[in-house]
């Protein structure tokens, strides 16, 4: 189990997700956009705190698989 927060800082994550957030903001009412943005950022930070990925393949595992397929 690997938790994301050890690898990505909250600011970097939000920066990475900016385009997606903007896209979703466009589909709502102009007057609600600020509220929705706060809501989304809150959810991201909550997720960052708790989310863990089960297994992460290493580079050389993937390399091995690729070789086997050939």
């Amino acid at each position: 189990m690997i938790s994301i927060k050890e690898y990505i800082s909250p600011l970097e994550l939000i920066e990475l997700l900016k385009p997606k957030i903007k896209k979703e903001l466009n589909q709502t009412d102009p007057k609600n956009r600020d509220d929705l943005e706060h809501e989304i950022i809150l959810k991201i930070l909550e997720g960052l705190k708790t989310k863990k990925f089960q297994s992460i393949p290493t580079f050389f595992e993937l390399l091995e698989k690729e070789r086997q397929q050939d």
């Binding site: 994301i4 997606k20 903001l25 509220d35 997720g47 390399l63």
Partner: protein
């Protein structure tokens, strides 16, 4: 020559960055534990960002949907919310501060500009017989006739102004007109 043509999209994307590719080339030339460790570390960093973006994109999507749904539910439930801004936020932000409730007209407000001028019905009458007839009406009937014919206000609005029923206004207006007609014809 190092083979960097991979089918696996993850490997492909990873090696598209020159820094990663350089590391990998060095490793192929001279495999050692230290380089392997660096490459693995870089790959975990790279991989976690991709997974995180995919994961949080879904979260953002569902948060937005959920948010819209809640908003619609709220607006449907509280249709008469007068606090909502009156121009839907389309205008410039400085103009958008007014709310719907500020646009409601207080129909019982009794004093307005025309009444301030304190005009009376008899100032509008030229015909001497009619003038005399109107003078014989009481103050209230004169006021009603003034509002109805000079100000051109409907019975219902007059009734709200004077705080009586519309039927009462209609009745005393008709009485006043009948009396005036009788006096003129006499």
């Amino acid at each position: 020559m190092v083979d960097t043509q991979f089918k696996n999209p993850l490997l492909k994307a990873f090696l598209e960055e020159i820094e990663h590719l350089e590391l990998y080339r060095q490793y192929c030339k001279s495999p050692n534990e230290w380089l392997k460790k660096i490459i693995d570390e870089r790959f975990v960093q790279f991989y976690i960002r991709i997974r995180a973006i995919a994961y949080f994109s879904k979260i953002i999507y569902f948060t937005a949907r959920h948010f819209d749904m809640e908003r619609r539910k709220y607006e449907k439930r509280y249709v008469l919310t007068l606090d909502s801004s009156s121009n839907d936020g389309i205008g410039s932000k400085n103009e958008g501060t007014g709310t719907l409730k500020e646009l409601i007209v207080d129909e019982s407000a009794t004093i307005n500009f025309h009444e301030r001028l304190n005009h009376e019905l008899n100032q509008y009458i030229q015909h001497p017989l009619l003038y005399k007839a109107v003078q014989s009406l009481n103050k209230r009937q004169q006021q009603i006739l003034y509002l109805a014919f000079v100000m051109n206000i409907s019975d219902t609005e007059i009734s709200k102004k004077l705080n009586v029923t519309q039927q009462a206004i209609s009745k005393s207006k008709n009485n006043a007109l009948a009396k005036v007609r009788r006096l003129i014809n006499a």
